[in-house]
């Protein structure tokens, strides 16, 4: 079964030129409003909590399966960064907005409500995986959710994101693209080519820099001349926002302000989310570049899930409710893991499909 894109809708080219130029030289460029921390209802916060917890438990399990040799090659866990994907994605309009990211992509997929089973089965390289075992951990996609991957080459997804945003503008579908990349990826040249084009053509895109402090073993300060990443768009007149990425409600609030700005036709916006990854870069990372204390301190003082939990308890949610949530999530994750372990590998003939439309 070959995945084919959905039938093309009838459409005319847009009436206005997509490549509308910048405002008059010297004019005041608009700025987004100051973001407010989102005031969540109990239900809303419970929902965010569940999503973050699902990501964490899923990733813990993926780490275990890797240790058991059931997942091979490269696998990058999202533990610690959960509030970013959950906070941002929750503000998007499903079916309208698009998302693209790098190789640390499990969390973004889960935050989109994609079935954990097919994600886990992709990690174990099974035919039932979302890329039918051909992509692996770093390369997962869901056109249904307008999730455009999952890209292993650092920074390469950023121009693609600008292209998706061009598509939103061209088809006048009102969508915004959210293009995620890391602090390390922010040093790739193609990122700045994308910034320029996105600003020049006022594309509806939010560039999201997940600044977790490290690119593999390289601390931000050792690789970046400008470590305040939200300022990286300055010379393209792309306004920037720096956000506490360890607080899901701050992330959500900032996302709303950002979306308002971009949907208002003002062109791109850059968000820097300050976050932290607890685990190694990938599964084979000796983590000698940072101290145990540094990691422990982040876990103790800034954990996004613990913070949400404390807030929920304060709102009157009982320990029991939270426990039963955890139990349910563990069950979901176990089922995904069982599925990923027991479903068969793809057929060898599958190696030849999806290279081009036809087979040669």
């Amino acid at each position: 079964m070959v995945k084919t894109p959905a039938a093309k809708p009838e459409r005319k080219p847009p009436a206005k030129s997509v490549s509308a130029v910048l405002p008059e030289e010297g004019s005041n460029h608009p700025r987004p409003r100051d973001p407010q921390r989102h005031e969540a209802t109990q239900d809303e916060l419970l929902h965010f909590y569940k999503e973050m917890l699902l990501i964490r438990r899923f990733e813990e399990r993926a780490g275990q399966l890797y240790g058991l040799g059931l997942i091979g090659g490269f696998c990058h866990l999202y533990i610690g960064q959960e509030a970013v994907a959950v906070g941002l994605q929750s503000a998007l309009t499903p079916g309208r907005d698009s998302v693209i990211t790098g190789y640390r992509d499990h969390g973004h997929m889960l935050a989109y409500g994609i079935d954990p089973k097919v994600i886990m089965a992709e990690l174990t390289g099974r035919g039932a995986g979302i890329s039918r075992g051909k992509g692996g951990s770093m390369h997962m996609f869901s056109t249904e959710h307008k999730f455009y991957g999952g890209h292993g080459i650092v920074g390469a997804q950023v121009p693609l994101g600008a292209g998706l945003a061009f598509g939103h503008k061209y088809t006048e579908d009102g969508g915004v693209c959210m293009a995620y990349f890391g602090d390390g990826a922010a040093n790739q040249g193609q990122v700045y080519e994308s910034f320029n084009m996105a600003a020049l053509w006022k594309l509806p895109i939010i560039f999201v820099i997940e600044n977790n402090g490290y690119a593999m073993g390289t601390k931000v300060s050792r690789s970046s001349a400008e470590t305040e990443f939200y300022r990286r768009g300055d010379s393209f007149r792309i306004p920037g926002m720096q956000v506490n990425g360890m607080d899901v409600l701050e992330v959500r609030g900032a996302a709303e302000a950002a979306l308002e700005y971009v949907r208002g036709g003002n062109g791109p916006l850059l968000m820097e989310l300050k976050t932290y990854r607890y685990r190694g870069h990938s599964m084979s990372d000796p983590a000698k570049y940072r101290s145990r204390e540094e990691v422990q301190n982040m876990k103790d003082t800034s954990d996004p899930i613990e913070a949400a939990k404390a807030e929920l308890l304060k709102m009157g949610v009982t320990e029991e409710t939270l426990k039963s949530i955890d139990k349910d999530i563990r069950k979901t994750v176990s089922e995904a893991a069982d599925f990923a372990e027991t479903s068969p590998e793809p057929d060898p003939s599958d190696l030849y499909t999806d290279v081009l439309v036809e087979q040669y």
Binding site: G73, G152, G184, Q188, S223, Y352
Partner: protein
């Protein structure tokens, strides 16, 4: 400056092979590569090492471990994740008289730098009529067999052999790796030095279900601790034979040898060591002797280096051939995440090809 450098490689007593090297040490391929750079940094103050995570961290495969501590941060330094910039800056440094040895963390990440390699590094000498040169050595781990999927397993060597103005070197043992890397660094032209990462720690035979032998059990792990060269453009007959000629490089040298041992066929196995310049004389003499030729590489088949080899053998040995030239290669697909051993051109496919050639 350029003239001074023209004489560089011949200005010192050439120490081909290890004839008068007394001190040797058992090294795996990583240590041998490390030692080559260390020796060259001791000898030549213009040699500098740069790349992602090569300094502080010592390289993701540890090839540059300890070099920053010994030679200082000015000569061994980390770069941002900017492959285009890394290669381009190295070319400029080379033109100014330095001898940079940039590392591209995986061959799969060399593509952002390919413009600089092709349009600048490879062409600088020609378009300046020898005035400016780019004596850089781009080191990069390549090849599969490590469950790396499509972004950590590729063998892009033929992209580079297709470009006039570049040399392409691929070692298959610790001993060769050190001698070839020293020659590459001393060479006054840009050299692409691909390191078969599957055999960094031991000579993989393609029988993936058997334990891997460490290099220490292999004669080629006795590596002189000092300076020696293996000339670029000289192939190595790793096994003499009369029945057929097998041409291979990198990991596949070991796979081919293992199959030959297992089958008992009297094959001559030639390790090309450098693809460009190519030691066509050794190949020609061998094929004229055996009348049969099998070419093995991991890279995809169409327009792979095997196609060039096959054409050359046909042009030069046509009247001596007793069977069509055969190729065992990677399939013409991206490198898959699952089914690696179905994809890898391993012993079964090589065995089949040998049987076919010998029957004709």
């Amino acid at each position: 400056m350029a003239e001074v450098m023209q004489d560089y490689a011949t200005s010192e007593a050439t120490n081909e092979g290890a004839a008068d090297q007394t001190a040797t040490k058992t090294m795996n391929m990583i240590e041998a590569i490390n030692s080559a750079m260390d020796v060259m940094m001791d000898r030549d103050p213009d040699v500098v090492i740069m790349g992602e995570d090569v300094g502080y961290f010592g390289g993701v495969f540890r090839c540059t471990a300890g070099l920053q501590a010994k030679h200082g941060k000015t000569r061994v330094f980390d770069t941002p994740i900017s492959e285009c910039g890394i290669v381009g800056v190295a070319v400029g440094m080379g033109a100014y008289g330095l001898r940079p040895v940039p590392e591209i963390q995986f061959a799969d990440y060399i593509y952002p730098g390919i413009d600089q390699l092709i349009s600048e590094a490879a062409r600088l000498r020609y378009r300046s009529a020898g005035e400016f040169i780019a004596p850089i050595t781009v080191r990069s781990p390549f090849g599969g067999g490590i469950f790396g999927g499509q972004t950590h397993s590729q063998s892009p060597e033929s992209l580079f052999t297709h470009v006039s103005g570049l040399k392409t070197v691929i070692p298959s043992t610790p001993y060769d790796a050190k001698g070839l890397l020293i020659s590459a660094i001393e060479d006054n032209d840009p050299v692409i030095f691909f390191e078969p990462k599957r055999i960094y720690n031991g000579p993989f035979t393609g029988y993936y279900d058997r334990p891997v032998e460490p290099w220490s059990k292999h004669a080629a792990s006795k590596v002189p601790t000092g300076h020696y060269r293996i000339p670029l453009g000289k192939a190595n007959i790793v096994r003499a034979g009369e029945a057929l000629t097998i041409l291979a490089y990198g990991t596949m040298v070991h796979v081919a040898q293992a199959v030959v041992e297992a089958n008992g066929v009297d094959a001559e196995v030639i390790d090309l060591r450098t693809l460009l310049p190519l030691d066509i004389e050794t190949i020609e003499a061998s094929v004229k002797k055996t009348g049969r030729c099998l070419i093995v590489h991991e890279a995809t088949r169409t327009s792979g280096f095997g196609a060039e080899l096959s054409a050359l053998v046909q042009e030069r040995c046509f009247y001596h051939l007793e069977a069509p030239v055969e190729r065992v290669t990677g399939f013409d697909t991206p490198y898959p995440h699952s089914l690696e051993w179905a994809y890898f051109p391993g012993p079964i496919r090589i065995g089949r090809a040998i049987a076919k050639i010998m029957k004709d």
